[in-house]
Amino acid sequence: MSTTTKAAPIVHTPDFMNGDEFRIPVFKLLKQDGSPYKNAKLPDLDKDKALRIYRAMLFTRVLDERMLAAQRQGRLSFYMQCIGEEASVIGSTAALDDEDMIMAQYREQGALAYRGFDVDEFMNQLFGNEHDYGKGRQMPVHYGSSKLHYMTISSPLATQIPQATGYAYGQKMAGQGHCTITIFGEGAASEGDFHAALNMASVHRVPVIFLCRNNGYAISTPAHEQFSADGIAPRAFGYRMKVIRVDGNDILAVYQATVEARKLAVEHNQPVLIEAMTYRLAAHSSSDDPSGYRSKKEEEAWRDKDPVLRMKLWLQEKGWWSDDDEKREQESLRRDVLEAMKRAEKREPPELDTLVSDVFDEVTPILAGQLDDLKAHIRKYPEAYPKGAKSLNGKDAGGAKHA
């Protein structure tokens, strides 16, 4: 056993390296006008799939627009937009098998839309009503879908990254040819969990794809205060992991890179890191105002690289999409979103019992007692707890007990 895996060359002068010795290029296929670069070989993407992708992009834009507006109107407590990063999340998802697992951060609604999460499913989560799969427990945008193989979002950053390694290890053991993709920001990549995940994936040869959306900011913190290196990509060398950097606003490049990454993962049990260079065009969230930490000019420069527009221009060049199609689709999406929002707002809150269910597989005696006490209390003060009182209607009244 040697303590490094290669027979290293020997030198007699103390020279230091720092990574400037090599360059990590950016993989691009489409120019902003929708035409391919010279020499670029575009992926095989048939019309149906291309339109499925593009429709998911449009839906995501419309959803973001409408829901931010709803938040501004006070109809929604909180919202986070994907705008600017649609190609990164949708292009990568489209390259996977629909049964591959996705473990995302929070800004990846496009991936879920592509998989077929419908507008009511989005709305029920955003409004935390009785039909929310998450039973109204998490803040808006914390979607999840087991049938679509989309892990429920968790707010603590980067925790899903080593989980993705573990999930994919299980897929490898199951032997059905599936992999996991985990998507996260360049800020989250600073967490210890990121490093644990990459190292373990590499050592244990796990079919997992790590997709970093390097969008320039973590809330107000610019990437150059997050790390000194040339992006996230060179971290892969620390684990001898395959890595590629891609133009995150170039849907075809992201797609193609992910197709190749998936092959490495599934066919060779080689984990892969993809760094998608992109930009968070919106504020971090509905609670944020970026004017305090970055310039309009910078934002404008990136607005000119709009990934949705780039794909539209490509589709138009192919003759698969027209301005008319665009208009019709936009209008219908807006209508769908608004109607679904109205439906979701009107739905009941989750049942009171959901306060104590799912802590364990069964409600423990202590929790059952706490629920009973709570019910008795709410019966005493129904006006103070309108949501809880609703779910007690028509049920028998119990005496007050106190813990």
Partner: protein, 325 residues
């Protein structure tokens, strides 16, 4: 005296601490030019430079690890954890390192200069991960002080006290009160003592004990109780560790009854420690069981947050139950 909200009071305390001692250094996620997501560090980078107030990379274990080293070196770091819910990646650095630094080295080295600030608590539609009250985890860890202020005046004085205390202090700020709680705050530099509870209202029939945002709740409950002729004594614990046992004992020896309330779940919450200690110290004087009014033994919910919270009505019911026992 100027009127301030709690954020302004905290910002003022940091400003005063940094002006008075150039070893005070503030850092954390987004605390630089942005002034923190709640703006508690507004203008500090402008005033004291990027070396003394800066953004860190997004890595809580690094923030606290760095802070431990900086404190060991003799500086006075004030690290911000953006939400108390995100303090757990730093748990090892806090519980195994910060807390044990002085003891394990026989006082050759210590991180007494360290203060860790973090907004905690619910009532802001934050769901599971923007609502937690983790004080009990740290209270079970010898070597840490844990402080929670109830209003702007307390926040300023206790934070200055914490920064200057010779021990590492976790300073949990009730974020629900950041803008909601306003009051007169002296302009000057003043410290409030750590380790001392405060009797904020005297009374005879029952003792109500809380800290931080729950103080508002017990005050409201006590108003309801007073209307029914129940005289409440209210204590703000202020420091969770080391807690002021004697002030609580003295009060309970007088009233014979105690209600403790916190937002954190019941099981393993700090009210349990208080109840265990007080039943032992006041056994022959207790006229009814010590009551705990707390969050449920579940993660923190969103839509049904109101139902979950240990509010003034729940405290009021506990008071009546205790009185009528």
């Amino acid at each position: 005296m100027p009127k301030m909200n709690m954020l302004q009071a905290i910002n003022d305390a940091l400003d005063i601490a940094m002006a008075a001692n150039d070893k005070v250094i503030c850092f954390g996620e987004d605390v630089g030019i942005f002034g923190g997501v709640f703006r508690a560090t507004s203008h500090l980078q402008e005033k004291y430079g990027r070396d003394r107030c800066f953004n860190t990379p997004l890595v809580e274990q690094g923030i606290v690890g760095f802070a431990n080293g900086l404190a060991a070196q003799g500086s006075t770091p004030v690290a911000e954890i953006q939400f108390a819910d995100y303090i757990f990646p730093a748990f090892d650095q806090i519980v195994n390192e910060t807390a044990k630094f002085r003891y394990r080295s026989g006082d050759l080295f210590n991180v007494g200069g360290l203060t860790i600030r973090a907004p905690y608590g619910g009532g802001i539609s934050g769901g599971l991960y923007h609502s937690q009250s983790p004080e009990a985890y740290f209270a079970h860890t010898p070597g840490l002080k844990v402080v929670v202020p109830r209003n702007p005046h307390q926040a300023k004085g206790l934070l200055l006290g914490a920064i200057r205390d010779a021990n590492p202090v976790l300073f949990f700020e009730p974020k629900r009160l950041y803008r909601a709680s306003t009051g007169e705050v002296p302009e000057e530099d003043y410290e409030l003592p750590l380790g001392q509870a405060e009797v904020t209202k005297e009374g005879d029939d029952i003792t109500l004990l809380a800290w931080g945002a729950q103080m508002e709740i017990v005050e409201k409950a006590s108003e309801l109780a007073e209307k029914e002729g129940i005289s409440c004594e209210i204590i703000d614990l202020r420091t969770i560790v080391p807690w002021d046992v004697e002030t609580v004992v003295e009060s309970v020896l007088k009233t014979g009854r105690l209600v403790v309330t916190h937002e954190a779940p019941l099981t393993g919450g700090f009210a349990g420690e208080i109840a265990a200690t007080i039943q032992q110290r006041c056994f022959l004087y207790l006229e009814s069981p010590i009551a705990r009014v707390t969050g449920l033994d579940t993660p923190f919910p969103l839509t049904l947050e109101k139902e979950y919270m240990p509010d003034h009505l729940k405290v009021f019911e506990a008071i009546k139950y205790s009185i009528n026992y």
